[in-house]
């Protein structure tokens, strides 16, 4: 009688697994791919190597004046000596701790949102939406509770960029949702006024909105009435971005099948509960990519306040570049400003991806 003996398991061929297998499959699978891989390698070498040389290997990191930069690479002292100016603008140095406190609070609210199981995450998010803006205004403006008043004209740098972006983001989403609901309302007056509002603000460039807010508006206001330039810019940004946000949200609302409205109505839910509990949670989830896209655009559009004389990160870098004591340092400043924007925008992008994955609940009807 034959006895069955299992053959021993053999290790898989080396060339199909691990890094070698991956490279064979993805980089070298056909003559065309081999060619593309070679071109890619050449490009990387041609671009990245000089960039690293310039930014790190041949760069000067220490020193306080332009004379310290003797190498052929980047002159980072230009950025490091002016870092305070790039971050705080003209905010008076003895009061800069207030900005730091705000940065810390911001981190306290945002970081837990990235950790799924952080206790009290939701409470912090609610605080971030409702409490933080008020607290930030008190902290930055001062004038009460023993804090000296700091006029907004002295705000600048990264801090100003963050103030503009955060206020814009926090206000544009709710206003946009209300506008989107209004545009789909059955009530003619509500619908027409929302549509008019959206189409007006979408039809004009942001730069002209800011220009109007800063230059034209004071001409129409009565003598002596004058409100803050930053506030005017903020209102302009909010109006403009909420119109865009409204259209993004409306796209989501239109994607929700009629059956969802009918089921909610059949259960006795009224308009606001149907919207708040059933329709908006689904619609907003669908358009997370569009919402974050608008947020990122908003973040970068804050640079346009340059035109009305507010110095955000980019503005303060540009102001510093004209300093005759430092020549040929423009690139370093722009690289720094670019990095600042990239860090925040990339962060938002990653967060939106994580949020989409978290909210995925199986197939959609």
């Amino acid at each position: 009688m034959a006895v069955f003996e299992a053959k021993p398991a053999l290790p898989p061929p080396v060339l199909t697994r691990g890094p070698v297998g991956w490279a064979r499959q993805n980089l070298l699978s056909s003559p065309l791919n081999v060619g593309l891989t070679l071109v890619g390698v050449v490009l990387i070498v041609a671009l990245v190597v000089p960039a690293v040389d310039w930014a790190l290997l041949n760069a000067t990191f220490r020193g306080t004046t332009a004379d310290a930069c003797t190498g052929t690479g980047a002159c980072w002292p230009f950025v490091t000596t002016r870092l305070d100016f790039f971050v705080y603008g003209f905010y008076p140095p003895p009061e800069r701790w207030r900005v730091n406190v705000l940065f810390a609070l911001l981190a306290l609210v945002i970081v837990p949102q990235l950790l799924p199981r952080f206790p009290g995450r939701r409470a912090l998010a609610v605080f971030g939406f409702l409490g933080l803006p008020v607290l930030a205004a008190v902290l930055l403006l001062g004038g009460i509770a023993g804090l000296p008043f700091v006029e907004t004209g002295k705000w600048g740098g990264l801090m100003l960029t963050l103030v503009l972006a955060m206020v814009g983001i926090l206000a544009a989403l709710p206003v946009g949702v209300v506008l989107a609901l209004g545009r789909r309302s059955k009530m003619v007056v509500v619908r027409v006024s929302c549509t008019t509002f959206i189409e007006f603000w979408r039809g004009v460039p942001l730069i002209s909105v800011l220009f109007m807010a800063s230059v034209m508006l004071p001409l129409f206001l009565p003598e002596g009435v004058n409100f803050d330039k930053l506030l005017r810019a903020l209102i302009g940004i909010i109006m403009f971005q909420s119109a865009y946000m409204a259209e993004v949200v409306r796209g989501g609302l239109q994607a929700i099948p009629r059956g969802q409205f009918e089921a909610a109505h059949a259960l006795g839910l009224g308009y606001w509960r149907t919207m708040g509990l059933i329709i908006l949670p689904q619609a907003l989830k669908l358009v997370i990519p569009g919402i974050v896209n608008t947020f990122i655009a908003l973040f970068k559009d804050t640079t346009l306040v340059l035109i009305i004389g507010l110095l955000d990160v980019l503005g303060s870098v540009q102001a510093a570049i004209v300093d005759p004591a430092w020549n040929r340092v423009a690139v370093e400043g722009y690289v720094f400003a670019g990095l600042c924007y990239w860090v925040f925008c990339f962060g938002m992008s990653r967060y939106s991806h994580a949020l989409e994955r978290k909210l995925q609940t199986g197939h959609k009807r």
Partner: protein, 272 residues
């Protein structure tokens, strides 16, 4: 206004012969009264002079060819569609443009849809407790206890924490039935509840509906399941071109239809 206990009044189940029972009912037993109701979609006259009375505990099956207006008719009962003339009185409340009347009626009338219409962003349990908590203002604990009892009744308590997208069609439809029952409605409307299901899942949904009927729920069902109509219905109503063509107890309806149009329809759906 008729005040009734929250649970449906039990009807004697041995009472299977429909006509004498209907005759012995008193007038206030009418829970849905439709009088000379008309509806147009634009210029299209979709419901023509509909009059219908449904009594408490009665099971009505509406059938007819597609486009005959049967779905539109039951959607008028909870105002998912608006009628333009005539009267609809549900549980003593007339359907008018008054939002309070509409919401009052919707609280008492449950509806099950062809495409389930579960809320995909909420779990099965959350789907069930949403309306009791937000509309009836029940404490979450009470609502969840009842929801679990009803999910057991439709035989899927183990799916309570799943999302609708993870369930089969038949399971989803049973959740939809449980979700409606969680509001403790006096009347249940079924709009082709088995039409979107795979054949092997139709039975589990029909079994749930039959057990509901046996408990005395007032039901108005639009369905093509003639077996269900034969076993469960007190009355079968045949509609064509927006009108009620024929209305009879199931035995007479299936064995001896009066109207030619009904005969044609029955021969089309029963012989193939």
């Amino acid at each position: 206004m008729v005040s009734a206990p929250a649970t449906p009044t039990p009807t004697p189940s041995e009472d299977t012969d429909a006509s004498p029972r209907l005759g012995s009912r008193r007038l206030q037993d009418v829970v849905i009264a439709i009088e000379a109701m008309n509806k147009w979609y634009g210029a299209f006259h979709v419901l023509r002079d509909i009059s219908l009375q449904v009594h408490r505990g009665e099971r009505i099956v509406l059938c007819g060819p597609s486009g005959s207006g049967k779905s539109t008719l039951i959607r008028c009962i909870n105002r998912l569609e608006e009628h333009q003339s005539g009267r609809i009185v549900v549980d003593g409340v007339e359907l008018t443009n008054d939002v309070r009347h509409v919401e009052q009626i919707r609280r008492e009338v449950g509806m099950v849809f062809q495409h389930f219409n579960l809320f995909p962003h909420l779990t099965v349990l959350e789907n069930c407790v949403l309306a009791p908590i937000w509309v009836r203002k029940e404490p979450r604990r009470v609502a969840e206890e009842r929801a679990m009892r009803l999910l057991e009744r439709v035989k899927i308590p183990e799916q309570a924490s799943k999302y609708p997208g993870q369930l089969s069609g038949g399971q989803q439809q049973r959740v939809a039935i449980a979700r409606s029952l969680c509001m403790q409605p006096k009347i249940m409307l079924f709009d082709e509840p088995t039409s979107a299901l795979d054949p092997e899942m139709i039975k589990e949904v029909l079994d749930t509906m039959i057990s509901l009927a046996e408990e005395g729920m007032t039901m108005v069902c639009v369905t093509h399941e003639m077996g269900f109509a034969k076993t469960v219905a007190d009355r079968v109503i045949f509609m064509d071109q927006g009108q009620i063509v024929e209305e009879n107890d199931p035995h007479t309806f299936f064995t001896n239809p009066v109207n030619d149009r009904t005969r044609l329809f029955l021969s089309q759906i029963l012989h193939h």
